[in-house]
């Protein structure tokens, strides 16, 4: 067994070195495929993070009329907690709302002065609601608008929120769907490119395969080195792909961060370096082996 493995490895290595142009062509194509894969992995993470950030920032604030007593609001809160679409409800009293507002406006002396002149707390108490899914926000708003306590609300804010919520919800669904479609298209494209290149490589070696068979080699004796060669193509391609991705990530990361400060491609790349490289290597080797296996079968029928 060890002798067979040694022979398979030696033949595969010879094939890789001696058919250097063919090997370079296959490794180049696989590298392109794996770079597409690596980019998809990174993009997928960026889009997930973006959706997460948007979703995290989303909430509905139900403002109550100033005359509504606190115990009524708390009763409404307890009622809403039972709603299965709602993940979290937070009650913000008039005093708390003022404290938050003062903190946010502390650097704006005009607002602070206006607040002092008013002499009383102009802010309303509110319930801050986070839904279990962004798609639920508009439904929750509809339910609140048609609820028994709708007269106690300052409903104008809800209507405005609804439009924003709908847009963000559509955007996050769009990003998820878009990145999914991109993964499918890019994966298919890369598989097609690699498959065809390896198929052509095997086609050019069909004479050798025929000779091996005529000398009495079994199908697996012929196949083994070719499959291992395919796996080696994939492994080398994944090394090259990750090395090329490094400067690309370092170049693009600050550009993305200048738009969305919370997203750092660079830190994602380095914290997930082995994950990305591992997926690339496994995918590349699998592509090389499967494409080789599939392309060879026809020529083994000698």
């Amino acid at each position: 067994m060890l002798i067979i493995l040694k022979r398979v490895f030696r033949t595969a290595w010879q094939g890789l070195i001696r058919n250097s142009w063919l090997s370079i062509a296959c490794i180049t194509m696989l590298t392109i495929s794996l770079m597409i894969l690596g980019t998809i992995l990174i993009f997928n993470n960026v889009s997930n993070e973006l959706v997460g950030i948007l979703e995290e920032k989303m909430d509905i604030s139900i403002y109550f009329k100033r005359e509504v007593p606190e115990e009524d609001i708390l009763k409404i809160r307890d009622e809403l907690i039972g709603n299965e679409k709602i993940a979290k409800i937070e009650y913000i009293s008039q005093e708390e709302a003022l404290a938050i507002f003062e903190e946010r406006s502390s650097r704006n002396p005009t607002i602070m002065r206006a607040l002092e002149e008013l002499g009383e707390n102009p802010l309303a108490a509110f319930l801050s609601i986070k839904a279990k899914d962004t798609a639920y926000y508009s439904e929750i708003i509809d339910e609140v608008n048609s609820s028994a306590f709708k007269d106690k609300l300052m409903t104008v804010d809800l209507a405005e929120n609804q439009r924003v919520i709908e847009r963000i919800s559509a955007l996050s669904t769009g990003i998820k769907l878009g990145s999914f479609l991109m993964i499918i298209v890019a994966a298919l494209l890369s598989i097609l490119i690699s498959f065809n290149t390896i198929r052509m490589a095997i086609y050019s070696l069909r004479g050798e395969i025929e000779i091996m068979k005529l000398v009495g080699a079994s199908n697996w004796f012929v196949r083994g080195p070719f499959l291992l060669e395919g796996a080696l193509y994939g492994l080398f391609a994944s090394f090259i792909a990750i090395v090329i991705l490094m400067p690309m990530v370092m170049w693009i990361s600050p550009k993305v961060q200048s738009f969305i400060s919370e997203i750092s491609i660079n830190s994602y790349f380095w914290s997930h370096f082995w994950y990305i490289f591992g997926i690339q290597a496994v995918f590349g080797m699998a592509l090389g082996v499967i494409a080789g296996f599939w392309a060879m079968n026809r020529y083994l029928k000698v």
């Binding site: 002798i3 022979r7 010879q14 094939g15 001696r18 058919n19 004479g207 050798e208 025929e210 000779i211 091996m212 068979k213 005529l214 000398v215 009495g216 080699a217 079994s218 199908n219 004796f221 000698v302």
Partner: protein, 227 residues
């Protein structure tokens, strides 16, 4: 027991009959030549023995085993017992002369030490000891054919099929190859030589099976090229 037995074998391609009800036997250690014009079906006949092709009708036996009933793994074993010398050499182009010979031994599962000992000796036997590390493109036609013979010998076959082995060679190399084949035959390996080289056949003075129109028209023990 005969080594090879073609029993009423016919072969047709797209309805056109190439071999028509051919029957003959080859004994172990025999040297027989198949002669006939190009396209008469000599190569087809040899390909059927290697199970590269299947007969349209009839049966082919090797060591009393029906070749058509062999499974994939058994076909590989059959091919290790039958060495083939081709007109176009069929050497592995990315392997050196030594590696081509070693490959046949690896296929047969010989241990590394035996390969390292035997392969250079076989190359020496065909006068190629200095060319072991040359690739086929670095060898002349005669040298390539001698590598093929060394490869065939590495298989230790019971039968060698030689399909126009001298077709691409000059007269000197032609006679060297024929001499090698007769020497191998004298050591006990049966040989079927397909050729249309009249001079070679007439000089050999061995059994000659003449094909014409898809049929065997003559089968003589010490035959001559008479087509």
């Amino acid at each position: 027991m005969s080594l090879v037995y073609f029993k009423n074998v016919s072969k047709a391609y797209n309805g056109s009959l190439i071999l028509d009800n051919v029957t003959f036997k080859i004994d172990p250690g025999e040297f027989a030549s198949l002669v006939g014009r190009s396209g008469v079906g000599k190569t087809t006949l040899l390909k059927m023995l290697l199970k590269e092709e299947s007969p349209t009708k009839g049966r082919i036996f090797f060591n009393d085993k029906d070749i058509n009933k062999l499974k994939n793994q058994e076909i590989a074993l059959l091919r290790r017992k039958i060495g083939m010398v081709f007109q176009d050499f069929k050497l592995l182009t990315h392997k050196t002369a030594y590696e081509n010979v070693a490959f046949a031994m690896e296929v047969a599962g010989y241990p590394e030490r035996m390969i390292e000992k035997d392969a250079p000796e076989l190359l020496k036997l065909v006068n190629l000891e200095g060319r072991a590390n040359n690739f086929p493109y670095q060898l002349s036609a005669g040298e390539k054919q001698r590598v093929v013979i060394a490869r065939v010998l590495a298989q230790r076959p019971e039968l060698i099929l030689a399909d126009e082995p001298t077709g691409d060679l000059d007269p000197i190399n032609t006679w060297e190859i024929i001499k090698l084949l007769t020497k191998i035959n004298e050591l006990g390996t049966a040989i079927i030589l397909a050729t249309h080289n009249k001079e070679v056949i007439n000089t050999l003075g061995r059994r000659v099976i003449s094909l014409d129109g898809g049929k065997i028209i003559r089968d003589e023990e010490e035959g001559r090229y008479l087509i």
